[in-house]
């Protein structure tokens, strides 16, 4: 692909127009997952297991069925078995056997909140009343919430059928290990033995939830002809379609998924929870069925991201050049196999040049909800440990933390994740910009301290489809299969406008249903503006080609004499011009309506990097930590709509700050989630935060016509270490366990 045009060549790319769906969203008109209603719809309710691990001995639904207005009851026995196929979902993949069991327990419930039965009735009250009357007899089984307990060699097995992957021949491990992912180069032990300084430390993190504000919701109608309509909010309507078809043993083509507006996802709405259950309730009742999760259901049964136990050793020579690294971590998976161990290993040290290393990623089952992707899945945890250790190493060597990073940072041509040489990446530029930023040298107040950290995320491309068509008056209609979770309609409209040479306001973008546009992978993996953007640009270029042919016909000249300039067909010889509108108006007479649909699967994405500076203030009386200043520097490739790129940087950083300071899954002594609400699971609020300063480094990706790299995920990677190191600097103690709650800070301040 040709190199992207220089930035000053753009007319629309890089501007900040109002998003196409904006008015709907500031006036309450936008229809989200929780807002949709179908005619004659029933209300559903799900019965959830109250135990962390239990065999289901019997389920008596008779009392529920007797409640007036109840139209259907389903349990695991109503679901077909599923074949073990792997479905690609963003940057992760997953077994559908696990996901099908996660949607509805069969013989065993694996966590507090695991669905065991469901009801549909003519009102929510009747459905809730009936759900409460379903009697489930459980035999409680041993369970593990703690990673270390589950990882023990003699730990009771959560799933006796589990087979670990990646083990050495004859290697003895806990029966709860799902995978071991080792990756090494050279002799890390020998390299570390020769280091001028080393740091060895252990780090821990608890599972945290994605925390989207919209609970999961869907309406499903299984019609007598076998066709199934699904209205839901998700990060991927095609993913919902494919998984629901897989779980229910129906053809993919019989399902049509209508994507509603999505109220946040962050990876947590790649998964399927409610749709197959609502589908079976609808099949049994013959009416559309709506299922909604409560906030407590969301915490108990969706998300979270893995907790972790991490050991790190880093070694450097006296000048601060890293000579060796050893990283070994154990991530929790929840009740079913997860996918974060491999990206954890890939992102552990890949942003630095380390000659000799040994990385081992483990994953173990725990009796928690099946973990889900969360923004740069697998990277923030291990990055927290490695970046904290690097800050400690810099202190030991008396080197500035940005300097030590600059000495070791990867650049174009250096080996990247898993060894392949890197393209036009911008970590070094991020670090230089952080160093030059006024924040880095600003004076600190009493009780305040500063730290930096950086991080990487691979980003992704993959399959997407877009269509571009012209209305009779020349209006441009763009349809994609990518749900708009944070402004992607605006970026698609900008790219279409730039390509076609017509004003932004003339572009109309919709997120189409699964029967109206070709397959598109989830909005996740920082892939949408990159991959779906390429589909839009390619389709727009194809429409230009069609328009040139039509213009040639209208002007009765050879098409080779027509050029496309500023949204018009121009005959090069005599300068005759035909506008898009003139061509569209005559399209019926020149060959038919003008439209083009393009499917793509680009993989020339490039990893993103971010360097972040954090100032904290610690209240020594209470242990409370306030983030008082924060700067995010990120290599964004090219910012199509800079305001929404800044928004990704700010939002990702604040999620990371929440992860560092407040957020954690807390289970009680009975293995039940104790903080399944926003009061006790405290995400950052406006009064916790300062303004989040942003610096966009635009190092264009040659693999995208306008230089896009993907920006959504990497900003959540560095904050954990930046905050933890800053707090440590403020109180003179290393903070190696997240969250850094006031209790922990207070204890650290007051221990001997």
């Amino acid at each position: 692909m040709n190199a992207p045009e220089p930035k000053d060549a753009f007319k629309v790319v890089g501007t900040r127009p109002i998003r196409p769906d904006g008015v709907d969203k500031v006036t309450g008109k936008a229809i989200f997952g929780t807002d949709y209603k179908a005619a004659n719809m029933l209300a559903g309710a799900i019965v959830r297991c109250p135990h962390p691990h239990a065999r289901i001995k019997s389920i008596d639904t008779s009392k529920a069925e007797a409640v007036a207005g109840v139209k259907a009851v389903v349990t695991g026995a109503d679901f077909p078995s599923v074949e073990d196929t792997i479905v690609r979902m963003g940057e992760t993949s997953a077994s559908t056997v696990d996901m099908a069991q996660n949607v509805m327990a069969r013989d065993v419930a694996y966590y507090d909140g695991h669905p065991v039965a469901a009801v549909a009735a003519i009102s929510q009250e009747a459905a809730d009343e009936a759900a409460a009357l379903i009697v489930v007899e459980y035999e409680q089984l041993p369970y593990h919430i703690d990673i270390n307990e589950s990882f023990k060699l003699d730990a009771p097995a959560i799933n006796p059928n589990l087979k670990a992957t990646g083990l050495a021949e004859g290697e003895k491990v806990s029966p709860n290990v799902t995978t071991k992912f080792p990756y090494a180069k050279g002799d890390a032990d020998a390299a570390l033995a020769g280091a001028a300084a080393t740091v060895t430390a252990h780090y821990t993190l608890k599972p945290v939830h994605q925390g989207y504000i919209e609970p999961h919701a869907c309406v499903v109608s299984w019609k007598p002809d076998g066709k199934i309509d699904i209205w839901c909010s998700s990060q991927g309507a095609f993913n919902i379609r494919g998984l629901t078809a897989s779980f229910l043993h129906v053809d993919i083509g019989s399902i049509r998924v209508m994507p509603l507006e999505i109220g946040g996802g962050f990876g947590g709405k790649n998964s399927v929870y409610l749709e197959p259950v609502a589908a079976l309730l609808s099949k049994k009742s013959g009416r559309p069925v709506r299922l909604l999760m409560s906030r407590s259901d969301v915490f108990r049964a969706s998300g979270p991201a893995p907790g972790a136990e991490i050991d790190v050793t880093l070694g450097a020579d006296a000048q601060g050049n890293l000579v060796g690294a050893k990283v070994e971590f154990v991530y929790s998976a929840g009740a079913f196999r997860g996918t974060d161990a491999m990206p954890g290993v890939m992102h552990a040290i890949c942003h630095y040049k380390v000659p000799d290393f040994s990385l081992i990623g483990w994953e173990v089952l725990t009796n928690m909800p099946k973990h889900a992707a969360y923004r740069a899945p697998g990277a923030p945890q291990v990055n927290f440990a490695v970046e904290c250790a690097l800050n400690e190493l810099a202190d030991k060597l008396g080197i500035d933390p940005i300097e030590i990073r600059l000495k070791n940072a990867v650049g174009p041509g250096d080996p990247g994740m898993m060894g392949a040489p890197l393209g036009n990446v911008g970590l070094i530029e991020c670090l230089e910009a952080a160093k030059a930023h006024p924040h880095y040298t600003a004076p600190l107040g009493e009780g305040q301290a500063r730290a930096v950290a950086c991080g990487s995320w691979m980003n992704y491309g993959g399959p997407s489809t877009a269509s571009v068509s012209l209305a009779e008056d020349g209006s441009v209609l763009v349809a994609t299969g990518s749900p708009d979770i944070g402004g992607s309609r605006a970026s698609m409209a900008i790219m279409a406008s730039e390509t076609l040479g017509v004003p932004y306001e003339q572009i109309n973008v919709v997120v189409a249903d699964t029967s109206s546009v070709g397959f598109s992978m989830v909005t996740g993996g920082s892939r949408t503006t990159y991959a779906t953007g390429i589909a839009v640009i390619d389709a727009a270029n194809a429409v230009i080609d069609i328009c040139k042919q039509r213009a040639a016909k209208m002007l009765d000249v050879d098409v080779s004499t027509i050029e496309w300039i500023d949204g018009e067909a121009v005959e090069t010889g005599n300068g005759k011009r035909l506008s898009l509108r003139q061509i569209a108006e005559k399209s019926g007479a020149t060959g038919g309506p003008i439209s083009f649909e393009k499917g793509v699967s680009p993989l020339q994405h490039l990893p993103g990097y971010s360097a972040q500076i954090c100032d904290v203030e610690v209240d020594r009386e209470t242990g409370n930590v306030s983030v008082v200043r924060y700067t995010v520097v990120q290599d964004v490739g090219r910012a199509i709509h800079p305001a929404y790129v800044e928004g990704q940087m700010q939002g990702g950083a604040v999620q990371g700050i929440g992860w560092a300071l407040n957020e954690a899954y807390i289970y009680n002594k009975d293995g039940r989630l104790d903080n399944a609400g926003f009061l006790d699971y405290r995400i950052p609020v406006a009064s916790d935060m300062p303004m989040i300063d942003t610096v966009m480094i635009e190092k264009a990706n040659p693999g995208h016509p306008y230089g896009v790299k993907g920006v959504g995920e990497v900003p959540i990677v560095p904050p954990l270490a930046a905050v933890a190191t800053a707090v440590g600097n403020a109180i003179g103690k290393r903070m190696r366990d997240l969250p850094i709650s006031p209790e922990r800070v207070y204890a650290a301040l007051n221990e001997g």
Binding site: I18, I31, F32, E125, I213, G651, M691
Partner: protein, 162 residues
């Protein structure tokens, strides 16, 4: 269970609905009056997505019983714009890209309007504390706070001009 007949003023119009004794104002707005702009993010008063103005006071409509709306005035997100004329808070949210997914946005806009009705010249800190009951997971609050400050400035200018 017998249902309660409620007459209330919603966005300036007199409305009637039947509700059950335990039904929340949020559910009545969404299910009985089809005003789905107010969202339920938690149902426990922690997220503010259901924020409405009741007799001039900002409340979480999930914490108010529908029956309590009898004879009172309710303003929801659907009533913030005047016809097709957006309120400055709405316009500044658009111009500042102060929304990403947009699910929390109605609650933020209603809460911000309630703030500016009382305090036309809030400091950044006052805005942040006023909005501390509204959760946004996407934006990190930066652009939201800027939008509210911008809207306040515009409203002050309008008042000076008037």
């Amino acid at each position: 269970m017998s249902r309660i007949h409620v007459t209330t003023t919603v966005n300036g119009d007199e409305r009637e609905f039947l509700c059950s004794p335990g039904q929340t104002l949020l559910d009545a707005l969404r299910d009985e009056l089809d005003l789905t702009g107010s969202k339920e993010g938690c149902g426990s008063g922690d997220c503010g997505a259901c924020t409405v103005i009741l007799d001039g006071e900002m409340v979480c409509s999930c914490l108010v019983l529908a029956g309590e709306a009898q004879g009172r005035r309710v303003e929801t997100i659907e009533g913030i714009a005047e016809g097709s004329q957006l309120h400055p808070v709405q316009q500044k949210f658009l111009e500042n890209a102060a929304l990403q997914c947009g699910f929390c946005t109605p609650g933020f806009i209603v809460a911000s309007k309630a703030l500016l009705d009382k305090n036309p010249n809030p400091t950044e800190t006052e805005v942040r504390y006023w909005l501390a009951g509204n959760l946004c997971r996407c934006t990190g609050y930066d652009k939201i706070v800027r939008a509210v400050m911008d809207a306040a400035a515009e409203l002050r200018q309008e008042r000076t001009a008037a």
